[in-house]
Amino acid sequence: MPQIFHHSTNFISRMSIYGAVLILGGLALALYEIALSPWYTDQNVSREQPVPFSHRHHAGELGIDCRYCHTSVEKSSFAGLPPTQTCMSCHSQIWTNAGMLEPVRASYRDDVSLSWTRVNALPDFVYFDHSIHVNKGIGCTTCHGPIADMPLTYRAASLYMSWCLNCHRQPAEFVRPKSEVFNPYYQPPSHDHPVTAEDGTSFVDQAALGSYLVKEYKIQSLQHCSTCHR
């Protein structure tokens, strides 16, 4: 019986098989990359806001404490967004005519809330609590990134579960003294910049500081589902 297919078809079939694997693999890789990309996670993407509020100016250059505006961060799950009144406590005195601040004044005048676009959003089935994190020595910048250097605020982390677990599995790598929690310029200890714990002990590397603080603050590595989901 003569051969039905010419020799050259071997090449084609081989190419098809390899090609299929490649294409499927490529597709999977592409999907994976998309899922991690800022386009999908909104990481490092600054959002448009009614007022171009600058954390760099307020928290960085002026050195206003985080808690001046985010009042409930130590007490509640929700850090709190300042009421217009808080903005106006300064801006009724300074920059009173700045065009940029007109929405703030309008809000105060008309008693209509400002509507900010949420930058750090978690899905509704995740129950994150700010207070326990800041009370256990997790600094603002650990999750929110270099906030004092953000002219417009952006999400500094993917906020994926894997990212959460990364810290929950090894809190010692991220914890800092409670006194440093609200310091936007905090750097982990190094030989040049040692970090002092509350009792005066000085640390030059994070591993030592971390394991000391984990013990001191009784930090647990909670990884079971109902920690966050319920």
Binding site: K75, P83, T86, S115, T117, I132, H224, H229
Partner: protein, 1030 residues
């Protein structure tokens, strides 16, 4: 109802009796279906999710091959796509000026009160950012002590009910409050100066402020009249007190002081004034710390089995109309001087042929033993008469308590709670007469729905139309509102300022949690439009009234006011006990009261519904779906009767029959209730609403059609006729039956473990063998698992449920629904076994069909340490926490339902459809923000209120301490009026839950499966009278 060609088979009593008599059979049974081993029961027993429940809407099941393929293809495509959604952009909208005290993310609690049938119960209401979400009892309030009941728990749903009346309506058109006020001003000047033809109709009023307003109105208009009507109010109790003491008095019981309690048809644990408090007091005398503890004894005589009947040590099923005779004999036996003529020809109206009115020998023996028990506990006993009994029985109960020296010890009397204690039936009759005579120019109905619930012989609807101007103020645009010219939406109590008296007279403050969502106004504000105070808000009216009443002035009053608002009550305002003298001519009154029906005559008994009361809660989905005590019926009422009575008349559960009584007729479904008195049919009122709202319009049968003013609680001469149709009920009684038969024991030793799910002993048996509830052999079960034992080093959460305390009131069921955003599924889905309640109250019977003992067993998730559900989850959606919780991660669940299939306790619930209402905006406010609202295709279950556990843990960690015992209270525990549920850390040996679990009565369900549940039970101990042999 459908015209099913297949007739219902009448119940085969002999077969059931034979089955019950079988030796070696399991002692406890749950339903007649189980005893008859019907196909439907098998279906529910063997399938976790029976697909074709009888009577369920078949339309929904029909799916052909083509559709199935379409759905499958679509699901596959959607499953892939749904993973690719980006998180939507959210907005944060902060306050402009932040109110004080509110910390976003932290709930606040405010004290308020809810008045039901005039009696106020103190509450603490949880508020999230200004939204009331959860009702708890106020521990400082005497009527609550922290406990609640189903009505209080479910009332928060009533606030957000989208069917509530939203605008002022004039002649069927939308109007405004301003127009109403103006019109009232006009009318006022028209009827001035005397107010001829002005009538006010209210429900029972205990509010001092509203009373003062109405009194002021009556002063302004001397010819105006005030009527009160409540379909299930306290007329009999009032008349009974009048009969006994010559004046209406309020009776306050002290069950914590009573060693022997006799209930004459009184369901005091779950209904009537003070029942939340009474459940606590009663339970305190039933709790056993050990074999040496004493416990009280409860005798109940009643027709329809109730919670109180189920708690009884001895329950005597008796026709409601016969209880009068029983009471008379009992009174005589405990030394009330009931003269001989009364005994010989008792209780017959003139002209009726006297019949031998002797009690049957068994009842006679029973009565003698009860009387002896009462007499040997003078001053420590208590006789309680139920609202459904005629005044004479109430009077007899008072006389017995006097004769037994209980007065001042286990019972005391105060001035009435009502400001104007009238006979409400007569009050309404007067109004109807005036209406019919055309004397009424202006009728203002403040609350209530008399067109629906007035006695049928009054023809209230027709009479009402004869009033020139009719004004109705109520929560709903209901049957009464429809016939009125003006309808004003009432403010819900969570939107109102007001006051009301507790069962002991303590004045509770009603404080709003939220501004009226719609155009609601309080009754006080509506009343103010008539007294010329229309500019004043309810708050001002309340405050001004108390400012004028209290001795404190100026700053002292401010302090008092602040304190009262904070506490939710005015301290030391309970009505003082007064001494009451039995009326001297009291005895003579007996013979003039109504007759007992002849022995074989059927009586028809009316009772308020256990879940929707007199119909006012008909539109509350939580209450509609709450299984009623004992029958476990949802979404319906039924003509309930004993199996014997049904068998005699060839009836079976589900027969659709015509009931004829007093010249009126009604079609209703028949439901057989074991333990119901023979020759008696009980019908709950409150169903068959015509204009209740999207939930309440439709279900059930309107018993008010049969209820006449002369026979409000019991009517004799009922006739039943089959229609040939079948009615399908949604009863959950035989659903979720824990299946023994599906797991046949292979060896004898296993059988030894197979213990009844509810463990019961008498007090004597318990004292002889304190460990009766424990499995006989404590085989070392550790190491039987392939997995190594987990060491619980931190907290280990556990729960103990005391079956001796649980009164089966369902408060936990509704509390859980409220706390955990549990959806309502509707009758059709309930019939398929898809009700979503995370905790259910299994009801077991023990003994024959006539006088079975009844036991309640609340069943939440057992939180097994070796949880069968966890092993079978293919996606790790249900996992174990290091603190021993079975975590359920909704966002991971793909809905295989394997976990539920593998759960021997049948506590998992699956969202077959999108049960949660995502669409109705008003319901957004209702939800607990700390619990996920579950979507379709997701399994859910009890988590021991993990949101509360986490909140307490975070609080304790921040304060650098351990969680204190009692700091975490689950929703079911908090709601329980009887303190039957205790939750805590079992690794802390000093915790309350550890101590309870260390008691000898402690046992777990299905111990032989080695699931090692964290929820354990304290076995039920009964305290029967050795003189009574049943």
């Amino acid at each position: 109802m459908s015209s099913d060609p297949k007739p219902n088979h009448a119940i085969d009593l002999d077969a059931i009796r034979a089955r019950l008599a079988q030796p070696g059979g399991r002692r406890h049974w749950q339903s007649l279906e189980q005893l008859q081993d019907t196909k439907e029961f098998r279906n529910f027993l063997e399938n976790e999710f029976p697909s074709n429940a009888e009577g369920a809407d078949k339309e929904r099941d029909v799916i052909n091959r083509r559709d199935a393929l379409k759905v499958m293809a679509a699901s596959a495509a959607m499953a892939g796509l749904s993973a690719c959604t980006k998180l939507p952009t959210e907005k944060i909208v902060p306050y402009v000026r932040a109110p004080e005290e509110i910390i976003p993310g932290k709930p606040l609690f405010y004290a308020t009160s809810m008045a039901l049938q005039g009696v106020a119960t103190g509450l603490l209401v949880e508020s999230h950012m200004g939204r009331p979400t959860k009702i708890e009892g106020n521990p400082d309030h005497p009527g609550s002590l922290g406990g609640t009941d189903v009505f209080l728990q479910a009332s928060v749903l009533g606030l957000y009910d989208p069917d509530r009346s939203q605008t002022v309506v004039f002649e069927g058109r939308i109007s405004s409050w301003q127009a109403f006020v103006a019109e009232m001003g006009n009318l006022q000047s028209q009827v001035a100066p005397k107010g001829t033809g002005v009538r006010i109709l209210t429900e029972t009023v205990t509010s001092p402020t509203l009373t003062a307003q109405i009194r002021k109105l009556l002063q302004q208009f001397p010819e105006a009249k005030w009527h009160q009507y409540e379909p299930c109010g306290g007329d009999n109790a009032r008349e009974g007190a009048r009969l006994a003491f010559d004046k209406p008095l309020n009776t306050v019981y002290r069950f914590d002081q009573a060693k022997v309690v006799v209930s004459l048809d009184s369901d005091f644990l779950v209904s009537g004034p003070g029942h939340v408090r009474y459940a606590r007091e009663f339970a305190s005398r039933r709790a056993l710390e050990g074999p040496q503890s004493e416990m009280s004894r409860l005798y109940v005589v009643e027709s329809m089995p109730t919670s109180t009947g189920a708690m009884a040590d001895h329950r005597l099923p008796m026709r409601t109309s016969d209880i009068q005779l029983f009471a008379l004999h009992l009174a005589s036996a405990v030394g009330v001087s009931v003269s001989e003529p009364d005994m010989a020809t008792p209780l017959l109206p003139p002209g009726q042929v006297p019949q031998p009115q002797r009690l049957s020998p068994t009842v006679e023996n029973w009565l003698t033993a009860v009387a002896r028990d009462l007499l040997s506990n003078r001053g420590k006993s208590l006789v309680v008469a139920g609202e459904g009994q005629p005044p004479v029985v109430h009077a007899l109960a008072h006389a017995m308590n006097e004769a037994l020296g209980n007065s001042g010890k286990t019972v005391y009397y105060t001035e009435p709670l009502e400001a104007n204690p009238v006979n409400q039936t007569e009050s309404l009759r007067d109004l109807v007469n005036d209406l019919n005579k055309g004397h009424v120019k202006l009728l203002v109905i403040l609350g209530g729905n008399p067109v629906y619930d007035a006695p049928t012989d009054f023809g209230f609807g027709f009479a009402l139309l004869k009033a020139k101007t009719r004004v109705h103020c109520g929560l709903y645009n209901d049957e009464t509102a429809e016939l009125c010219n003006w309808h004003v939406p009432a403010a819900h109590y969570l939107e109102s300022w007001g006051d009301g008296r507790a069962y002991d007279g303590t004045i509770g403050i009603v404080q709003p949690l939220i501004a009226p969502i719609y155009d609601g106004h309080t009754l006080q504000e509506v009343a103010a439009t008539l007294t010329g105070d229309s500019g004043k808000s309810a708050h001002d009216l309340l405050r001004e009234y108390w400012q004028s009443q209290r001795p404190e002035k100026d700053r002292a009053f401010e302090a008092f006011w602040e304190r009262s608002l904070h506490d939710g009550l005015m301290a030391n305002t309970a009505l003082p006990a007064i001494s009451a003298q039995l009326h001297p001519v009291f005895e003579r009154e007996f013979s003039s009261t109504a007759a007992a029906a002849s022995p074989n005559e059927l009586e028809l008994v009316f009772r308020p519904d256990p879940t929707i009361l007199d119909g006012r809660f008909a539109n509350n989905g939580w209450l509609q779906e709450t299984p009623k005590t004992v029958t476990r019926l949802t979404w319906d009422n039924a003509a309930m009767m004993s199996p014997v009575t049904a068998a005699q008349r060839g009836l079976a559960s589900g027969d659709y029959v015509t009931l004829r009584s007093g010249g009126h007729e009604l079609k209703a479904g028949v439901l057989l209730v074991p333990g119901h008195a023979d020759n008696s049919v009980t019908l709950h009122v409150g169903y068959g609403r015509r204009r209740a709202g999207s939930v309440g319009t439709g279900p059930g049968f309107n018993a008010y059609f049969l209820r006449t003013s002369s026979a409000q609680w019991v009517a004799s001469g009922l006739q039943i006729e089959k229609t040939g149709d079948t009615y399908f009920f949604a009863s959950v009684q035989h659903q979720y039956t824990i299946d023994f038969e599906g797991h046949p024991a292979e060896e004898e030793s296993v059988n030894a473990f197979r213990r009844d799910l509810v463990q019961v002993a008498t007090l004597d048996e318990f004292r002889k063998d304190p460990n009766f509830a424990k499995a006989p052999e404590t085989t070392e079960s550790h190491g039987l698992s392939l997995y190594p034992d987990f060491k619980y080093t931190g907290y280990a959460w556990g729960m103990s449920i005391d079956l001796n305390r649980c009164v089966g009131c369902n408060a936990c069921v509704v509390a859980c629904q409220s706390e955990n955003n549990i959806a309502v599924v509707g009758k059709d889905q309930v019939m398929r076994g898809r009700a979503m309640h995370w905790i259910r109250i299994d009801t077991y019977f023990d003994g024959g069909l006539e006088t079975p003992e009844m036991y309640f067993e609340p069943l939440p998730c057992m939180q097994c340490e070796n949880a069968p559900c966890e092993y079978v989850c293919p996606v790790g959606a249900t996992t174990h926490s290091p603190e021993g919780l079975n975590d359920m991660t909704y966002n991971r669940c793909v809905g295989t339902r394997y976990c539920s299939n593998n759960c021997p306790y049948k506590v998992r619930r699956f969202n077959f459809y999108l049960y949660s209402d995502y669409k109705t905006p008003s319901l957004y406010g209702l939800r607990n923000p700390n619990v996920t609202v579950r979507s379709r295709g997701v399994m859910e279950k009890c988590t021991y209120c993990v949101q509360r556990i986490n909140a307490a843990k975070i609080r304790s960690e921040e304060e650098n301490r351990q969680v204190r015992d009692g700091e975490i209270v689950t929703a079911c525990q908090q709601a329980c009026p009887a303190e039957a549920i205790i939750f805590g850390d079992i690794n802390d040996k000093k915790s309350r839950v550890s101590q309870l679990k260390a008691q000898s009565r402690d046992y777990v369900l299905l111990a032989d499966l080695n699931t090692r549940p964290r929820t354990s039970y304290l076995a039920r101990v009964r305290n029967p009278n050795p003189e009574i042999h049943e």
